[in-house]
């Protein structure tokens, strides 16, 4: 059972609050510089310095970690504040930087953000200059504390208590973890480091090896104040630095069932070894500590203690057939009130997609194929919830511009993960599937795929001004197509950018008919949601982008009402 905990903890860490599917803020890359080979260590002579204090009382914050990130500097640079709260980031190459200050038990602050948890803006750091007064007022993070007891009122140890918030991830609004702690021997917990916001508290008994496999009862996740369903849960509003104590909860046992069946591999033979785990799909609740069992040598498995709900059954073999090819499977599973027997899962090796990247040599110059990276994200939100988000950092293309990608069966996109390069076409069997995605079958080897990339993308730049005509940087510019068809999951046509220190924004989109709006605030990820776009459509400005066009568009800030 302890292995299940290890695997699931890994899932929690990977699927953090900012999903890999989120598009990063468009930092305006300098068009005069060639695409950098970011593996070389870059240094310069510029400096960013400042001071970190506590927002409430101005006292210096010691040992805060300040990080500066930029496309000019892979991995960024980090410095720590001294006894007076001062820091200095040295030897920086010129560029646009985002600066973040972090200290445990404080809310992470991004320089230029209007509110905690929101995106910051970038600062311009010229060659050999010292940019001073990049200061931070850190806000202490919130705390939720209380006691967990069982149905007899006795303290429950080894229970995971998780504070969760709704966030836009991979196409829908999901409940994502913000912080969690285990209860101690007297059932107490203290979840700290919470940014201001609305939280739901969930208590889940961690599965230790010490569970009776014949139990027909299990403790399912319980949400504050004491319900098994998220919809009946009471949200807790935490203000900056607030400690909410006395959150006591009783965890009640619920009926549990057994899920059993067989797993066969891609050749039809029973899978002799591996692990089957029952996972909670991302965003459906606390993800960790669910159940699992090792496969018996005859390929069968039996998992007890599963409460009613929707899950994903994952088969993990961990056996590498050849390098990089692991048999596995993930299937959705709905559990009601009775045992489920005869589940049959067929694992498959990841399917392979091979092909070439096509670029215009006039654009790419001496760049080798390995400068490019491709990804294969799921093409629908539901599949992404089951299969995960696809290979995180992307797979590098070979030097000769050929590539081999791996993907699980289903509908997928091919996307580029290379800064400064944009997709023009993805041809599978001659058909351009760039925006529709395509189906890949289990154990398939798809060949002859062509991925066309270009360095040029039409762009629109401009200033955002308030109603009084004053240019402002505290704006979110959303550019989206007039055709609702393209308001789809992971659409290339919907983009968001924030103005730079010169109050200029820049958005790059493929040619087409668009609308643009600058709003004062939108939640991370929400700007890509069709509901949001439909709401702001009326107030957005129409414009069109032609091939190779550089357009200028001034926008007026639209204030959306928010509490």
């Amino acid at each position: 059972m302890s292995r299940a905990v290890v695997c699931l903890v890994a899932v929690v860490l990977l699927a953090g609050p900012v999903s890999a599917q989120q598009r990063p803020t468009q930092l305006a890359p300098d068009p005069s510089r060639p695409t950098r080979d970011t593996s070389a260590r870059a240094t310069g002579t510029a400096v960013i310095k400042g001071r970190v204090v506590e927002a409430s009382n101005g006292q210096p914050v010691r040992k805060a970690r300040v990080h500066a990130g930029s496309t000019a500097l892979r991995d960024g640079r980090t410095a720590y504040t001294d006894a007076d709260g001062r820091y200095e980031l040295k030897a920086l190459p010129a560029g646009h930087y985002t600066v973040t200050a972090f200290k445990p038990a404080y809310v992470t602050a991004a320089y230029g953000q209007p509110r905690p948890l929101e995106l910051g803006t970038s600062i311009d750091v010229p060659d050999a200059k010292t940019v001073d007064h990049i200061d931070f007022g850190l806000v202490r993070a919130g705390v939720i504390a209380g006691r967990i007891t069982d149905e007899f009122g006795e303290p429950l140890a080894d229970t995971q208590v998780m504070a969760m918030r709704y966030q836009f991830v991979q196409g829908t609004r999901r409940l994502m973890p913000s912080g969690s702690r285990m209860t101690n021997d007297i059932g107490e917990f203290r979840v700290f480091g919470l940014p201001p916001g609305q939280y739901y508290l969930a208590a889940t008994l961690r599965n230790t090896r010490e569970t009776d496999p014949n139990d027909r009862e299990t403790y399912a996740s319980t949400y504050y104040p004491g319900t098994g369903s998220v919809s009946a849960a009471q949200p807790l509003t935490i203000a900056a630095g607030q400690t909410m104590a006395g959150l006591n909860m009783m965890v009640l046992p619920v009926r549990s069932v057994r899920v059993s069946g067989t797993v066969t591999d891609s050749s039809g033979a029973p899978l002799k070894s591996g692990f089957v785990q029952v996972d909670v799909p991302m965003g459906a609740g606390p993800m960790s500590s669910y159940r699992g069992a090792a496969l018996k040598p005859d390929g069968t498995f039996s998992i007890t203690g599963i409460a009613q709900g929707d899950y994903v059954l994952r088969v993990n073999t961990g056996i590498r057939m050849t390098e990089g090819e692991v048999e596995g499977a993930a299937v959705p599973l709905t559990v009601a009130n009775s045992d489920i027997a005869d589940v049959h899962i067929v694992t498959a090796k990841p399917s392979s997609i091979t092909g070439r990247v096509l670029v215009d040599p006039a654009e790419s110059g001496s760049l080798k194929g390995s400068a490019f990276r491709l990804m294969t994200p799921a093409a629908t939100a539901d599949e992404a919830a089951v299969n995960g988000g696809g290979n995180g950092n992307g797979t590098p293309v070979q030097d000769d511009f050929t590539f081999e990608l791996k993907a699980r069966a289903g509908r997928i996109f091919i996307r580029s993960n290379t800064v400064g390069w944009f997709l023009r076409a993805v041809r599978v069997n001659g058909v351009n599937v760039l925006d529709t995605g395509f189906e890949i079958r289990a154990n398939e080897s798809l060949t002859g795929v062509e991925v066309e990339l270009t360095h040029r993308q039409p762009d629109v730049t401009g200033t955002v001004s308030t109603a009084e005509g004053v240019p402002t940087r505290n704006a979110f510019v959303v550019v989206f197509p007039q055709d609702r068809e393209h308001w789809s999951y992971l659409s290339r046509y919907v983009r968001m950018a924030r103005p730079n220190p010169d109050n200029q924004y820049r958005v790059q989109v493929p040619p087409g008919e668009y609308l643009a709006i600058a709003v004062d605030f939108v939640e991370q990820g929400e700007w890509a949601e069709p509901d949001f776009l439909a709401r702001v459509r009326e107030r957005a400005v129409p414009f069109s982008m032609a091939e190779g066009e550089h357009k200028t568009l001034a926008l007026t800030l639209v204030t959306l009402s928010h509490n």
């Binding site: 640079r77 410095a79 720590y80 993070a141 069982d150 007899f152 021997d185 203290r190 010490e210 139990d215």
Partner: protein
């Protein structure tokens, strides 16, 4: 599948053997007819413990050897109801250890009044119903406190663990000892719980956040022991015996300068090792989290966030199916400065081969495959590979062996046999071990077993003449030179419920033998200071080749 450690043992009990044969074919737990029942109570209040877990683990007929079916332990579990009652049914006949546990209570087996006592096994026949197998569990001990940095500010996210002092490899070391590791909260507070009664030392490990290139002044802290020292000898000792909790065990973290270790790792062809990892293990804190770094495609690596200390660097690649992994190790000292230019060249392990010699009469009765051995580094911290080997039918063997100082260890053999001598090149290396050079095989190892091991048995009584089981029998060589390392010349045994004990397999020679209540854990007998104290109260014992002796002992009390 890897075969680290025990994966099989010899079956001697006929009843168990039958059960095994049946279950090994069906791969499902064999049904039985015996029943074990009883109650689990809270030791302080006497109230019944609900939802306590009772586990019956089959231990087979050989005493401390564990029988494994298809590589998995056979066990049955049951949970107690509201009256604290449990019932384990359908048990196959056999010898069991029964353990009760619940969350943060200290788990106990039958025969233990405190953890660490030898559990008393329970022999059960078919259709037998054993009632009143009761347990009285005590809540685990608690240690609380808070962790601060050099400014006195509380430090969250610091890993805090309760450590115990154990005598290992000839020196006193602090090792992780029971209770899970906890992490400090935003106020820097921690609470360690579920601790069995013992002496503890509290260690705080600050986890440095991942660094990037050219980070200046990354704050680092050494593994710090309460109240604020890096010296294990100066660490505060917390005796959780009769007092079950201790508060205000605070730790002031000791700041250290963080360094970086860099170098190259290549394989035996001089090519860079790709997609492999260099790990750095702190020799003084082997159970702490190891740091390391991925080896880049050009074979270079940079390990960041290294606190001062002695480290074992290791690069090891994954073996191809059926092959052996290649490995390189080196020890480096980090003292606040960056270390550059470390060169690691991985090489495949050498091969150790030889034969096991048994007298012909015993050899006929012995299945060669029941003998399982390992040629492993004398330093247990260095054990990174599968160096085990099973005997072929002709009693020859072959095993992988890492370069360096190694010893032959017999992991499993029939109880009627005992180790007599190990010879390499005609030289007796039984207790000294032998050196293996890189890329050089060692052939012709002779392992001599005797079918007439020495046996020392007897009865322990207390001052009133009643049988005593609450003590440890220690037999140790008179010659102090034989007390080094994991010595064959020191053995301990706990008497059973009738005060009887038995020790077999001691090499012939002169010994001291004593029954004492001051030695609680077997590892204490490895401490020369403890042995010197026991010497005064011990009786003399001489063992000849193959001799059996009966010795009755009186428990010696006193510190």
């Amino acid at each position: 599948m890897s075969r680290h450690g025990l994966t099989a043992a010899l079956l001697t009990s006929l009843t168990i053997a039958i059960a095994v044969a049946a279950s090994a074919q069906t791969a499902t737990p064999p049904a039985g007819t015996a029943v074990i029942r009883g109650r689990v109570l809270d030791g302080d209040s006497g109230r019944p413990l609900r939802r306590a877990l009772v586990r019956a683990l089959i231990t087979g007929g050989t005493g401390d050897r564990v029988v494994l079916f298809e590589g998995r332990r056979e066990n049955r579990t049951a949970t107690t109801d509201e009256q604290g009652r449990y019932e384990l049914t359908d048990l196959p006949a056999g010898r069991y250890t029964v353990t009760a546990s619940k969350g943060t209570y200290v788990g106990l087996s039958i025969g233990q009044t405190r953890p660490g006592d030898s559990p008393k096994p329970l022999d059960i026949a078919d259709r037998q119903v054993v009632d009143k197998v009761d347990f009285s569990l005590l809540r685990g001990g608690v240690i609380t406190g808070h962790v601060v940095d050099e400014y006195g500010d509380p430090v969250p996210n610091v890993q805090v663990a309760a450590m115990r002092s154990q005598f290992r490899r000839g020196q006193r070391q602090l090792v992780g000892g029971g209770g899970s590791t906890v992490v400090t909260d935003d106020l820097g507070e921690y609470r360690l719980f579920g601790l069995s009664p013992a002496d503890y030392y509290v260690a705080a490990t600050y986890r440095v956040p991942p660094a990037s290139e050219a980070d200046d002044d990354v704050p680092g802290y050494a593994v710090t022991y309460a109240p604020g020292t890096v010296n294990t000898t100066a660490a505060q000792r917390i005796a959780l015996g009769s007092t079950r909790s201790m508060d205000e065990v605070n730790i002031a973290l000791v700041p250290v300068k963080i360094s970086q270790v860099s170098g190259t790792a290549v394989n035996s062809q001089g090519q860079p090792m790709s997609s492999a990892f260099v790990s750095a293990m702190d020799r003084n804190n082997p159970f702490g989290s190891a740091s390391g770094a991925q080896i880049k495609p050009d074979g270079t690596f940079v390990i960041r966030n290294v606190a001062p200390g002695e480290y074992l660097l290791r690069a090891q690649n994954q073996p191809r199916q059926g092959g052996r992994s290649e490995m390189a190790t080196t020890t480096i000292s980090v003292a606040g400065q960056d270390v550059e230019g470390v060169q690691l060249v991985v090489i495949p392990p050498s091969t150790a081969s030889g034969v096991v010699l048994v007298d012909p009469a015993a050899a006929a009765a012995t299945k060669a495959s029941s003998i399982f051995l390992m040629v492993s580094p004398i330093d247990p911290q260095m054990n990174f590979m599968d160096t085990s080997g099973r005997l072929k039918d002709d009693f020859t063997f072959e095993a992988a062996v890492q370069p360096g100082a190694n010893m032959v260890r017999l992991l499993s053999m029939p109880p009627s046999l005992a180790l007599k001598a190990v010879r390499v090149g005609g030289v007796d290396v039984t207790d000294t071990g032998f050196d293996v050079k890189p890329n050089e095989d060692v052939r012709g190892i002779e392992i001599e077993l005797t079918s007439h091991p020495t046996v020392v048995s007897g009865q322990v009584t207390d001052a009133h003449g009643a049988s005593s089981k609450d003590c440890m029998v220690v037999i140790f060589a008179r010659d102090e030179a034989k007390w080094e390392g994991t010595s064959r010349y020191i053995q301990t045994a706990r008497p059973d419920q009738d005060g009887r004990f038995k020790v077999s397999g001691l090499p012939p020679g002169d010994y001291h033998v004593v029954a004492t209540s001051t030695v609680q854990q077997p590892d204490q007998a490895g401490d020369p200071d403890v042995l010197k104290q026991l010497r005064d109260r011990a009786a003399a014992l001489s063992l000849g080749e193959g001799e059996t002796k009966v010795v009755d002992l009186k428990v010696s009390t006193g510190s």
